[in-house]
């Protein structure tokens, strides 16, 4: 390591264990003044444990932390803040009902005659935010501002309070592209002032756009630290995954789908004020990608097919027989499965064990009078935990304790256990780290090769291109285009999503 720049923060041999897990195992980490240092790793790699240990949320079990050469041991986040380490989380934890100015100076308001001096607070807030290129009415309630502005306010407060080290924990997850640019400009301004920034993210693009160095953790251990300037994406991804990947996006070797009769066939299926009528045929072994912007009717299409909402027009045939699907239960009985987008509220049953979650759909189908015995369900769960490589200490662990990717795999297992013929996956890779991402995509391909009919909704166009045989593009709640063969590529899909609605273009 060159000592051209002074070390702002230095972690040596940081260790943190929880009952049964070593979350951090002798991790070294350095932060120079004025650099952006990305912290990367799959879910469960130890990123958030490192952040929490650094900021006093957890007490470390071993190792040392030096801030500008002085050993520190923050007792809590406020203590860390006083020492100079501020943190901004993905979900801004300020008070939405208070004004921007009040949020900035909460707990340290300028006072006049013992009362809060609102005028001076506002003036100080304006001065502070000008430094961030933000010209807004500081009297507005924070909750009325965009997420990006809230994020900037949170950063401004954190920097103003601490001013040496700024930790950004997935700050861009809920920002759009333009807002990300603004945020990055602000981060660069801060580093120019000599502040060191630790940047936790899942987005590799952003690492390459912003960071000077990247440190990769895996399973609580340090894999390595790289200068971004001399690295390429593949190197970093390999470090994160700990295994070789051919290329980042693999195009699936497509079997020519023969003219097998469709498993699911919709004709003019729709529901008023929900989804415009659409035609859709899905054959065994075929993966249909569903693309479109948020709110374009993707999830609505899935919920209509799975009986969560009932169609009020059109016809649906399954295996050639006309059916009416009145409930998820009816859909499941037909051999359908659905992994919803919102895993936490619609997917997992958090307090129940991984085993019970995996067995749930099969049990529901068998009915309450024919219980799966404990050994039976245990064998089922163990089989899928092995087959899908679900990482859990054991099958009896409550599923809410698993990482997002492993929860997603358990939900897949729940449906695979019912031996479905048609599976709908809504954003199967959302909020999942790169490693689990690739695994889920590989799983999707494997399922297709096994003859399952799949419908996959995703915002990640590259992903859709990787596995889809056909892509349905939605806009404004109607199915506007179906792309096949060579047309399944990022360009064409994006163009179809973005195209102006032309009268008569809707199929």
């Amino acid at each position: 390591m060159d000592n051209a720049e002074p070390l702002l923060l230095s972690l040596r041999g940081l260790t943190k264990t929880f009952p049964g897990v070593t979350a951090l195992d002798g991790v070294d980490f350095d932060l120079r003044a004025g650099e952006v240092h990305a912290l990367l790793g799959e879910n469960g790699a130890g990123k958030s444990t490192l952040i929490k240990t650094l900021t006093g949320v957890y007490v470390r079990d071993g190792g040392s932390v030096h801030l500008q050469g002085t050993p520190i041991a923050p007792a809590d986040t406020a203590d860390a803040q006083r020492l100079g380490i501020g943190t901004v989380y993905q979900e801004v934890n300020l008070l939405p009902n208070l004004s921007v100015a009040e949020n900035l100076f909460l707990g340290r308001e300028p006072r006049r005659f013992g009362l809060r001096d609102a005028r001076r607070t506002e003036a100080m807030a304006r001065d502070l935010l000008v430094g961030y290129g933000l010209d807004i009415d500081v009297r507005r309630a924070l909750g009325d501002c965009s997420v990006a502005v809230q994020q900037i306010v949170a950063i401004a407060r954190a920097v103003d309070l601490s001013g040496k080290v700024l930790i950004l924990d997935e700050p861009t997850a809920s920002l759009d592209a333009g807002e990300v640019v603004t945020l990055f400009a602000i981060v660069r301004r801060l580093t120019a002032r000599g502040i060191g920034v630790i940047f936790v993210t899942h987005f590799l693009d952003q690492v390459f756009a912003l960071a000077d160095r990247a440190t990769v953790l895996r399973n609580g251990r340090l894999v390595g630290t790289r200068e971004i300037a001399g690295s390429n994406r593949l190197d970093i991804v390999k470090m994160m995954l700990g295994r070789e990947l051919e290329t980042e996006t693999m195009k699936r070797h497509r079997r020519q789908v023969v003219d097998a009769p469709p498993v699911v066939s919709a004709r003019g299926l729709g529901r008023r004020a929900y989804v415009q009528p659409f035609d859709l045929d899905i054959r065994p072994g075929e993966a249909i990608g569903v693309a479109g912007l948020l709110g374009s009717g993707r999830t609505e299409t899935a919920k209509l097919l799975f009986g969560i909402k009932q169609a009020d027009r059109g016809a649906l045939a399954v295996g050639g027989k006309p059916v009416r699907i009145s409930s998820p239960r009816a859909a499941a009985a037909l051999g359908f499965g659905f992994c919803p987008e919102d895993r936490k509220t619609e997917g997992i049953v958090g307090d129940l064990s991984v085993r019970e979650n995996i067995a749930l759909a099969l049990q529901a189908r068998r009915g309450w009078l024919r219980p799966l015995g404990r050994t039976e369900s245990r064998a089922l769960a163990d089989r899928f935990i092995r087959a899908l490589d679900i990482r859990t200490s054991d099958a009896e662990k409550p599923i809410r304790l698993l990482s997002g990717g492993n929860q997603q795999k358990a939900l897949l297992a729940r449906w695979l256990a019912t031996e479905p013929r048609f599976l709908i996956l809504d954003e199967p890779t959302r909020g999942i780290d790169v490693g689990a991402h690739a695994e889920i995509i590989r799983l999707i391909e494997r399922l297709c090769d096994d003859g399952l009919a799949l419908m996959v909704i995703s915002s990640e166009i590259e992903e859709i291109v990787a596995y889809a045989d056909r892509v349905v593009v939605l806009r404004d709640r109607s199915h506007v285009r179906t792309l096949e063969g060579e047309a399944v590529n990022v360009n064409d899909i994006v163009r179809a999503i973005a195209a102006e609605a032309v009268p008569g273009a809707a199929a």
Binding site: G347, G350, D351, A364, P371
Partner: protein, 330 residues
Amino acid sequence: MTSTLPGRLSFGALPQFATLAAVLLANWLVFPDFFDLRLQDGRLFGSVIDVLNRGAPVAILALGMTLVIATKGVDLSVGAVMAICGAVAATMAAADYSLVAILAAALAVGALCGLWNGFLVAVLDIQPIIATLILMVTGRGIAQLVTEGQIVTFTHEGLIAVAGSSALGLPMPVVIALVLGLALAALVRLTALGLLIESIGVNRTASTYAGVDSRSVLLATYMISGLTAAVAGVIAASDIRGADANNAGLWLELDAILAVVVGGTSLFGGRFSILLSLVGALVIQAMNTGILLSGYPPELNLIVKAVVIAAILVLQSPAAGRLFGFLRRS
């Protein structure tokens, strides 16, 4: 199925049994004869037996309440359902129907009340606390309609025997509570019903999306609660040899909820244990009896009870759990 009872007991049941032991010990301290038993005419007598006997109605209510609470619901109507079913039983006994007919009618009325609650909750999606409040309020009026505003009394040998006879040396209500508890535990744990109830209680949307027939399961749990309330109502009527529409089962819904909570089932739904709810009911009754035996002025009873219950709940709270965990580590 889900964590089997023995498995559950070995882990989480310690606070409940410790609480019961503490309350029994306290009773023994204020009343040294507390554990004395004597056999008379093939039947056991003593304070402990009295606790079991007096506690039986609440214990039986707690059985159904456990399932309802596990679905993230609550059944406030059980006290009123007791009154209705007691009124039906007493009125029929006064008219000299056979015991079988009386029991069948009372249970059918209880099941019907449960179905009504279940319909409001599962089909109309009304919040359980409001849905069951309706029957809680109107139930006593219905009971009065059944008894035509009178306090009905009877001398029906068969019905009197429901609370008045004994089996295996124990009062009949105790035997009924035990048998019912075992039967219900078997019903939910030997079938998949227990898993489905817990699953709905933790996340009804996700369970429905997984193909669980949430509506039917909810209907079933409220119906079971109505049935257990009917049994408790018949026992109460048999005990006083009559039906008092205004006072039968009054406030017992609250004792039943308390028993379930003391038994460790969370009001947020999910994991439940029928056996521990029975322990919870015992704790409550042992405390009631203890306060009576101690000779405190009766006006203090409710306050003492409230303090003890508050202490139990604080000890079982997650915050206390964290504190104990912390103390153990350091």
